[in-house]
């Protein structure tokens, strides 16, 4: 217990890094995911095929492989965004495939009449998507999107051995330094992650309530 309380600053610093990773890669994933989702429902078959390939490729690759490629591989090719940037890129790309899938199912969930009405008043595809379908799709997919962000929160732990002192890295260090207190340490770090997950869920619930489409 004492080891945990005495080193509480390590825990807090660890979770700060976790939060930074989460925000950076989450933003990248949302951006890429939206683009891929639009490509997957677009009228151009080549774009659809490219989107499908992207999703298949990155959903079936373990995140660790992507991190190895961006963290060790890209600098060898002369492309380097720094270790934080490289890891963020891997996590963003990996998560974007899942976000694209969630968004696509959301687009399919928008009632047909909405898109038909948009077309009937002469909107082209880009306008139908940006003005009518996507805003509603985002609302439908709040719960699945947030569960992807929760998965990302947990996945940030994979940065542990790649030069970022985030929470799981700190946990591993403390487990080694204070083996007698391991249950308290485990409980402390678990609580940290549970708090992040709870906050994300709370945001999801309030957004869902506020954005509920009145039908």
């Amino acid at each position: 217990m004492d080891a945990m309380l005495d080193n509480i600053d390590l825990l807090l610093r660890g979770f700060t890094e976790t939060a930074k990773l989460l925000v950076a890669s989450g933003a990248l994933a949302m951006l890429l995911g939206t683009v891929v989702a639009v490509a997957r429902v677009s009228p151009v078959s080549v774009l659809r095929a490219a989107g499908t390939t992207y999703v298949t490729l990155f959903r079936n690759t373990p995140l660790l492989m992507l991190i190895l490629i961006t963290y060790y591989g890209m600098p060898r090719l002369g492309i380097d965004f720094g270790f934080f940037g490289n890891i963020t890129l891997a996590m963003g790309v990996y998560t974007s495939a899942f976000i694209a899938e969630a968004l696509r199912s959301g687009v399919n969930g928008v009632p047909l009449g909405q898109a038909e009405a948009a077309r009937a008043i002469g909107m082209p595809f880009t306008m139908t998507m940006t003005q009518v379908v996507l805003p509603q799709a985002f609302r439908i997919v709040v719960p699945p999107l947030v569960s992807q962000l929760i998965a990302l929160t947990k996945n940030t732990s994979l940065a542990a051995t790649f030069g970022i002192a985030e929470a799981t890295f700190r946990l591993n260090g403390m487990l080694r330094d204070f083996p007698a207190d391991r249950w308290w340490i485990f409980g402390g770090y678990a609580l940290g992650y549970i708090v992040i997950v709870a906050v994300l869920s709370a945001i999801a619930i309030s957004l869902e309530r506020r954005w509920k489409v009145g039908r």
């Binding site: 079936n60 060898r76 090719l77 399919n108 379908v133 591993n172 992650y193």
Partner: protein, 280 residues
Amino acid sequence: MTAPTVLFDAPGPKARRRHRLIAIATIAALIAGLGVVVWRFQTTGQLEYELWEPFVTPAYMQILGQAALDTLKTAVLAIIGALAFGGLFSVGKLSIHRAIRWPSWLIVEFFRAVPLLMLIFFIWSLYKFETGIMAPLVLGLVLYNGSVLAETFRAGMNAVPIGQVEAAYAIGMRKNAVMRIVQFPQSVKVMLPAIVSQCIVALKDTSLGYYILAPGLTFAGREIWREYDNRLQTALVLAVMYIAINLLLTWLAKWLEGRLNRSESRAARALADEARRALA
């Protein structure tokens, strides 16, 4: 008519021309991107034969094959364990006794919220950080995937139309028999896609054995790149291996689902669809 086709009109001659242009631009961009990657590989010397040599050398291919078997073994053990854990705790969560329901809920929620890697590190610390053992990885995978499956099973059981359950009670079945004979067999078909995608998750997560030096593909990869200094090449080869295994699993699941669906009568299929929608 499916939703994507409702998003745009049937293209006229002008739109068709525009689509063709976009298609050509996309293909050109993709080829250019691929070209840049190959060019970078070339100019930085990452295409050198020595760096790729282990993947065409029989001795190393054998090591990778053995490692793939280790990975599959880990995955199979983890999935069997997770199915048992999930089955047990889904029944616990559906229990009518509060003393069973609450602890089951707490355990499932805890293991779903905590990162798998953290769980694995903790279990590893119980093993005194011994390297080369599978147990921490398998146990971590069982606890995490089992908890996710417990939720899936519970949702699947509840998705069976209520009339089925009521009818079973009406002819005098006990709760045990209702779950075992009526709810479970019907929910399996509904849950199959979710179970398979969880298997893929478990298979991908076996790569975490890397962090605790457990036997498997990532550990073998580490051995290779320590000798050849070819992390990029090794990671690419391993990624391709994982993708191939996962696609095979996906394909197998589709085939199995098709078989199950064919064997259903039309009425049963309609019921299953309804349950599937309720679950989605």
